[in-house]
C-alpha cells in the first residue's frame, strides 16, 4: 500500500496540459527520484500533490485517504510536506525563528492563549527550542542561528528549508531540486542528511537535475516528459530507456 499515490492526474493552465494522466507512487519509507527536462511537469506534479494547484481530473491519496480536495495546510498537517525550487525562507526572521515558526499546532499562536496561558506558552517555547537545536545540529546550522535567513547562502537556505520540514515531523517530504545552486561539499552533506532521514522512516520524493548524484542515492526513479511519465524503475533501467534518452539528451548518447 503506497503512502502517497497520485492517480491519473491531469492538470493544466488554460489550454496547456502541464500534467497528462500521471501516475506516481511513493511507498512508506521509500526514497524515490523524479527526473525530466525543464517544463516536463515535475514541479507542477509537486504542486498538485500538495494542493497548490488543483487537478482537473484524477485523485491524490495519502496515508490511505483521499486528499484530492484538501487545502494545502490540511495536507501538510497529515504529514505531506514539500520544499520549493527557489527557497522560500522568512527573510527577516532569524534562522532560529524560521525553525520555531515551523513547529505545528503551537499554543502560543492563539491570541487568547497570550493572555490566559502564558506559563504554558513558556514551557512550549522551551520544548520547541530544544527541538530546534536538535534540527540545527543535524543540519549544521548552529553557527548561523542568529542570522537573518535572507542573508544566508543559497545552500544554507536549502538546508534551512529542509530544517523547517523536519520541525513538522512529516511522513513524506517532497524536495524540489534540493541540490540546485549548492556547492559540491554541501551537496554531499545534503545527500547524507536526506539518506539519514529516509533511514529514520520518512518517505522522500526528490526532483533533481543532478542525475549522477540522484542515481547514487535513490533505488527507484520516475522520468517525465511533456506532462507524462515516460519511464520508471531502477535508475539504471530508467537512464538506459530510449524514451528517456530521447527526451533528455535528444538521443545524442
Amino acid at each position: 500500500m503506497a503512502l502517497l499515490s497520485v492517480e491519473k492526474i491531469t492538470a493544466g493552465f488554460g489550454g496547456f496540459r502541464a500534467l497528462d494522466d500521471v501516475d506516481l507512487k511513493v511507498g512508506q519509507g521509500e526514497l524515490v527520484g523524479l527526473i525530466g527536462t525543464n517544463g516536463a511537469g515535475k514541479s507542477t506534479l509537486f504542486s498538485v500533490a500538495t494542493g497548490y494547484i488543483p487537478a482537473s481530473s484524477g485523485r491524490v491519496h495519502f496515508a490511505g485517504q483521499d486528499i484530492t480536495g484538501l487545502a494545502v495546510h490540511h495536507r501538510v498537517r497529515r504529514g505531506l510536506a514539500r520544499t520549493f525550487q527557489v527557497p522560500r525562507e522568512f527573510s527577516n526572521l532569524t534562522v532560529f525563528d524560521n525553525l520555531m515558526t515551523a513547529a505545528p499546532e503551537q499554543e502560543g499562536e492563539k491570541l487568547s492563549a497570550l493572555v490566559f496561558s502564558r506559563g504554558k506558552i513558556r514551557q512550549e517555547e522551551e520544548r520547541l527550542t530544544a527541538k530546534v537545536c536538535d534540527v540545527m545540529d543535524f543540519l549544521n546550522l548552529r553557527g548561523v542561528e542568529g542570522e537573518l535567513a535572507g542573508k544566508l547562502s543559497g545552500g544554507q537556505k536549502k538546508l534551512l528549508e529542509l530544517g523547517r520540514l523536519l520541525m513538522l515531523e512529516p511522513k513524506c517530504i517532497m524536495l524540489d531540486e534540493p541540490f540546485a545552486g549548492v556547492n559540491p561539499v554541501l551537496i554531499e552533506q545534503l545527500c547524507e542528511r536526506v539518506i539519514e532521514l529516509n533511514q529514520r522512516g520518512i518517505a522522500v520524493l526528490i526532483i533533481e537535475h543532478n542525475l549522477a548524484e540522484l542515481a547514487r542515492i535513490v533505488p527507484r526513479l520516475y522520468a517525465m516528459d511533456r506532462g507524462r511519465v515516460i519511464a520508471h524503475g531502477s535508475p539504471d533501467a530508467v537512464l538506459a530507456d530510449p524514451a528517456v534518452r530521447e527526451a533528455y539528451m535528444g538521443g545524442v548518447i
Partner: protein, 297 residues
C-alpha cells in the same frame, strides 16, 4: 500656550494609536490597509452615539473597539483570500463606504450636520479647562498599554507567524498553517485599536462629522510609518511624533515668524512633508528609525 501644547500632544497620541494598529497590520503582517480611517470612524460614531444615549463612556469605548474589530472580520474573509493589492483597494473602498454611510444615514448620524454635544471625558470631575490635561494623561496611559500589548503580541509565537506571512505567505501554507486565519486576526486587532482611538477622539472633541474621516487621515498614518520605519515600534512612534508634531506645530510657527498666510502655510506644510518623504525613500528606505527587523530572542 499651555493649552495649545496639550492639544498638540493629544493629537499626536490619537494618531499614535492609529499608527500602532496599522503597524501591526502592515509592518508586521504585510497587510496593505488603505482604509484605516474607516475603523477610526466606526469607533468614533459608535462611542459617540452610545454615550449620547446615556451609556457610560468606558462601556461606549469598549463597544467602539469591539465594533471596529468586528467590522474588519467580513472584510478579512472577503479580501484576505486575495493578494495584497486587492486588499488595498477593498479597504480604501470600505473606508469611503463608511464615510458615505455616515453622510447619508441621517436618522442615525445626522449626516453632514455632524454629532454635537458628545459627552466629554472627565466632564464634571474638574473645572472644564483642566479636563484636557486629564484626557492627555489618559491617552498616555492608553498608548503605553496598547504599545505594550502590540510588543507582547509581536514577540509571541503568533507574532512569529504573522511576520513569516509578511515575508512569504506561500511558505507559511507549506508549514501547515492557514495564513487567512492569522491575517484576519491581525486586521481585526489593528481595526480594534483604531476604533478605540476614534472613540477617545470623539469624547475629546465633543463634535464629530463625516468630513473628519477622509482617506487623507489614512495616508497621514502611512506617511508617518514610512518616515519612521515600519518594521519597528520605535520607528512607528518616532515617525508619528515627527509628522503630527510638524502638522500641528507648524501653525504655531506661523504665529512666531509671521508674514506667511494660512493658505501659504498649508501648502508649505504639504511641500515639506513631500520632500521629507522623497528623501527618506531615497536615502533611508527602512525609515529614519527603522532598525533591521531582526527579532530578538
Amino acid at each position: 500656550m499651555e493649552g495649545y501644547l496639550i492639544a498638540i500632544f493629544i493629537s499626536i497620541l490619537i494618531y499614535l494609536l492609529l499608527a500602532g494598529g496599522l503597524a501591526l497590520q502592515y509592518g508586521f503582517t504585510g497587510l496593505v490597509n488603505f482604509g484605516h480611517v474607516g475603523f477610526f470612524a466606526i469607533g468614533s460614531y459608535t462611542s459617540a452615539l452610545l454615550a449620547l444615549k446615556g451609556v457610560p463612556i468606558p462601556i461606549s469605548l469598549a463597544a467602539a473597539t469591539a465594533l471596529a474589530a468586528l467590522s474588519a472580520y467580513p472584510l478579512g474573509m472577503i479580501a484576505l483570500r486575495l493578494g495584497g493589492d486587492y486588499l488595498a483597494i477593498v479597504t480604501l473602498g470600505f473606508s469611503e463606504a463608511v464615510r458615505m454611510m455616515l453622510q447619508t444615514e441621517e436618522w442615525l448620524t445626522r449626516g453632514m450636520h455632524g454629532l454635537p454635544g458628545i459627552p466629554r471625558l472627565f466632564a464634571g470631575w474638574v473645572e472644564p479647562q483642566k479636563t484636557d490635561l486629564l484626557i492627555l494623561i489618559l491617552l498616555v496611559v492608553v498608548c503605553v498599554g496598547v504599545f505594550f500589548l502590540i510588543h507582547h503580541i509581536i514577540k509571541s509565537p503568533f507574532g512569529r507567524v504573522i511576520e513569516a506571512i509578511r515575508d512569504n505567505e506561500v511558505a507559511v501554507r507549506a508549514l501547515g498553517k492557514n495564513p487567512a486565519q492569522f491575517k484576519t486576526r491581525s486586521l481585526m486587532l489593528g481595526a480594534g485599536i483604531a476604533g478605540l482611538a476614534g472613540g477617545l477622539q470623539a469624547h475629546y472633541l465633543t463634535f464629530i462629522s463625516p468630513e473628519q474621516y477622509v482617506p487623507l487621515i489614512t495616508f497621514y498614518i502611512w506617511i508617518a510609518l514610512v518616515l519612521g520605519g515600519v518594521g519597528s515600534l520605535r520607528g512607528v512612534v518616532m515617525g508619528t511624533v515627527l509628522l503630527v508634531g510638524f502638522l500641528e506645530g507648524s501653525r504655531f510657527i506661523r504665529d512666531v515668524i509671521g508674514g506667511v498666510s494660512e493658505v501659504q502655510m498649508a501648502s508649505l506644510r504639504i511641500w515639506v512633508i513631500g520632500v521629507a518623504l522623497i528623501c527618506v525613500i531615497l536615502y533611508r528606505p527602512q525609515g529614519l528609525f527603522g532598525s533591521s527587523p531582526k527579532r530578538s530572542r
